[in-house]
């Protein structure tokens, strides 16, 4: 039970490489925050700095109301779950769970009670007398979580805990961890969680708020729906969502309530809500694949273009269709029930695609930041 505040946290390695650039954010008490980004974005480094496994070279880290920059890991009240579990191979599951508590010098009955509680919560009671080498991946994962829970930490730190599991198990563990967070909250033992992952699905499904990082800088720190619907820049827009958002070059003019855009050899006009005044400026237009229509409808604000079909991916409930419009690739995502004659089309067939510009995101071509966000 504690908030975590990062005040201009920075990390410079002895060789002069700056991995983390003055990061500022506050995680509220009991909140589930996900740090996400491509590999090398310093998300794990940041987590390890919070844990105390990596030194902090600048700024101030506050857990609860204490500045913990110089405190060793055990005094920070944090527990960590590692990517490859890091269970002690020479100890039984029971001793793995109890090890930290014994070191704290807790009385034996209390240690036993806590271990049993955690085992019950995670359904690992039958495994208590096994060695880590006798566990499957999912079981090891649960034991690793158990080792964190027994300590009743103020902050839980997860470092890509699901990346060693297969897809199916990952999905069920995802739900489990989220449920666990809710369960602990309901039991009056809310815990702050910082969860690191490179998987945007994990981030979107688990995080109450998500911090998107790139090269040691925060790109956007917001709720999942805000990240999806109002990405701060082209990086966030491209990183969140699958298939990736279409990024097209356009020239945009905005005056008063009317905006007009020229792209892919055509032009159209639409309502300029939220956009700043511009005159014929090169911008990047971002459009989610679900906003690219393939079935002619009379919806307003849709820009119809002639395209050539590249290929189709049939996903079961949805169809991903890849088109080429004036040499530019465009992806569309259509529910299978509405795909119509799409399934019968072949590569190279001509299709009319509609761009729903009312749902478009407009980014500055040079900086990549969202034009709406600038105001």
């Amino acid at each position: 039970m504690a908030s975590v505040t990062l005040n201009k946290i920075a990390k410079v390695y002895p060789n002069g490489f700056k991995a983390v650039h003055e990061i500022d954010f506050k995680i509220n008490d009991g909140e589930f925050v996900v740090l996400v980004g491509p590999s090398g974005c310093a998300k794990s480094t940041l987590l390890r700095m919070v844990a105390g496994l990596e030194s902090i070279t600048g700024g101030e880290l506050v857990i609860g109301d204490k500045v913990v920059n110089r405190l060793p890991p055990k005094e920070r009240g944090a527990a960590m779950v590692f990517q490859n579990y890091a269970l002690y191979p020479h100890m039984k599951v029971r001793d793995n769970l109890a090890f930290g508590l014994k070191l704290q010098g807790l009385p034996k009955p209390e240690v036993e009670a806590r271990v049993n509680d955690a085992a019950k919560l995670l359904e690992i009671e039958p495994l208590l007398d096994r060695y880590p080498r006798q566990l499957s991946g999912g079981q090891s994962q649960r034991v690793a979580v158990g080792r964190a829970i027994v300590k009743k930490p103020q902050v839980f730190l997860f470092d890509e805990p699901l990346s060693n599991l297969d897809a199916k198990l990952r999905a069920s563990m995802r739900v489990r961890i989220t449920e666990l967070h809710q369960q602990l909250k309901a039991a009056g033992q809310p815990c702050t969680v910082i969860y690191v992952t490179h998987d945007q699905v994990e981030a979107m499904t688990m995080g109450e708020r998500i911090c998107v990082l790139k090269e040691g800088r925060i790109q956007q720190f917001d709720t999942p729906s805000m990240l999806y619907n109002e990405p701060a820049n082209t990086f966030v827009a491209g990183f969140i969502g699958s298939p990736e958002m279409n990024m097209l070059e356009a020239r945009l003019t905005v005056s008063d309530s009317q905006a007009s855009a020229a792209l892919l050899g055509a032009s159209t006009s639409f309502s300029s809500k939220g956009l700043p005044q511009l005159t014929d400026v090169t911008v990047t237009l971002g459009l989610r694949p679900e906003n690219v229509l393939v079935n002619a409808s009379d919806a307003t604000g849709v820009m119809w273009l002639d395209s050539e079909l590249s290929h189709i991916e049939y996903m079961g409930s949805e169809v991903f269709a890849y088109f080429k419009v004036a040499g530019t690739a465009i992806t569309s995502r259509v529910p299978a029930s509405q795909s119509g004659e799409l399934a019968s089309l072949k590569r190279g067939d001509r299709v009319r695609v509609g761009l729903e510009l009312s749902h478009a995101h407009w980014f500055d071509a040079a900086s990549g930041s969202n034009l709406k966000k600038q105001h």
């Binding site: 844990a51 990517q83 490859n84 890091a86 269970l87 002690y88 080792r147 060693n164």
Partner: protein
């Protein structure tokens, strides 16, 4: 038509199987015959030694074969008594008085030093490690004289201290090197987990590193046991009173007597002197295999 064809093919298959089985069998006979032959050639000196230990003194030099004409236990009895005032019970005890303390201090000092080199960053670490490895190349003989003078000034000559004390300062650099290499192969995650669990450096060493290092530590124990048990030059230089002699020196003593050498007794005691080293090696063999298997710790 097809039924005939399938019958044909099963007959063909079974004859191929027969042929394959016969060839495998012949191959393995040849393989084992060769291995046994080479093994015997290598073991022959040892077999001869054991055979000769039951022979009479005259038979050793007159008969070529290793099989004694009569099994005499007398060489063992006589050899054990020795021509000195002490029996080999005393000398074996002396040997263990050197070996056991030396192993204990070796393991403690080498593990501590290896832990420091493998897991901590400190000033001059690379240079110190290079120097340590370089001393491995130094012939022991170069160190004998300065070491002897040093222990003489400490007034430790004719005690076991010069044989045990150096090992307490991790001077067996080979072991340090071996442990460092082994430690480098162990992923750090577990130590980080232990750090999160609240271990300090020494607790981490004791609760996490030492259990993981067990196979390497057992190798250290076995090697140090065998090397110290067989060490001849060390005790020869530092020990002067016969009552403190270990087995290696006592064996030489029984050859160097003025009267005619009782070779059969010398050989009999040599056989007995081999027993502890061989026993320790076989007792630890399982853990060597363990050590190889446990390198892939990741779940």
């Amino acid at each position: 038509m097809s039924a005939v064809a399938s019958q044909e093919s099963t007959r063909f298959d079974s004859s191929v199987d027969q042929y394959q089985i016969r060839r495998d069998r012949i191959n393995s006979v040849i393989r084992y015959a060769l291995l046994i032959a080479v093994g015997l050639v290598m073991l022959y000196p040892l077999i001869w030694l054991i055979g000769a230990s039951f022979k009479t003194n005259a038979e050793i030099f007159t008969q070529v074969g290793f099989w004694p004409s009569k099994f005499e236990l007398e060489p063992y009895v006589k050899g054990w008594k020795t021509s000195t005032e002490y029996t080999f019970t005393r000398y074996f005890a002396n040997s263990f008085l050197i070996v056991i303390p030396r192993i204990i201090v070796t393991v403690i000092s080498c593990v501590l030093v290896a832990y420091a080199f493998a897991r901590f960053d400190f000033f001059g670490k690379k240079i110190l490690f290079a120097i340590m490895v370089a001393t491995m190349m130094l012939p022991q003989i170069v160190l004998r004289i300065p070491q002897y003078i040093m222990f003489q000034q400490f007034d430790m000559i004719d005690s076991y201290a010069p044989l045990v004390l150096p090992s307490a300062f991790a001077t067996d650099t080979f072991f340090v090197f071996m442990l460092v290499q082994f430690l480098r192969g162990i992923p750090r995650d577990m130590e980080e987990a232990a750090q999160m669990d609240g271990c300090n450096s020494l607790q981490m060493l004791w609760y996490i590193i030492v259990p993981l290092l067990k196979p390497a530590i057992i190798s250290v124990i076995v090697f140090q046991f065998i090397w110290t048990m067989n060490d001849f030059i060390g005790p020869l230089i530092y020990l002067s009173s016969v009552e403190k002699y270990p087995v290696s020196l006592a064996l030489k003593l029984s050859i160097g007597a003025t009267e005619e050498v009782e070779w059969n007794s010398v050989i009999a005691i040599s056989v007995l002197a081999l027993v502890p080293s061989v026993a320790v090696f076989f007792a630890a063999q399982r853990h060597f295999v363990d050590g190889v298997a446990s390198t892939g710790l990741k779940g």
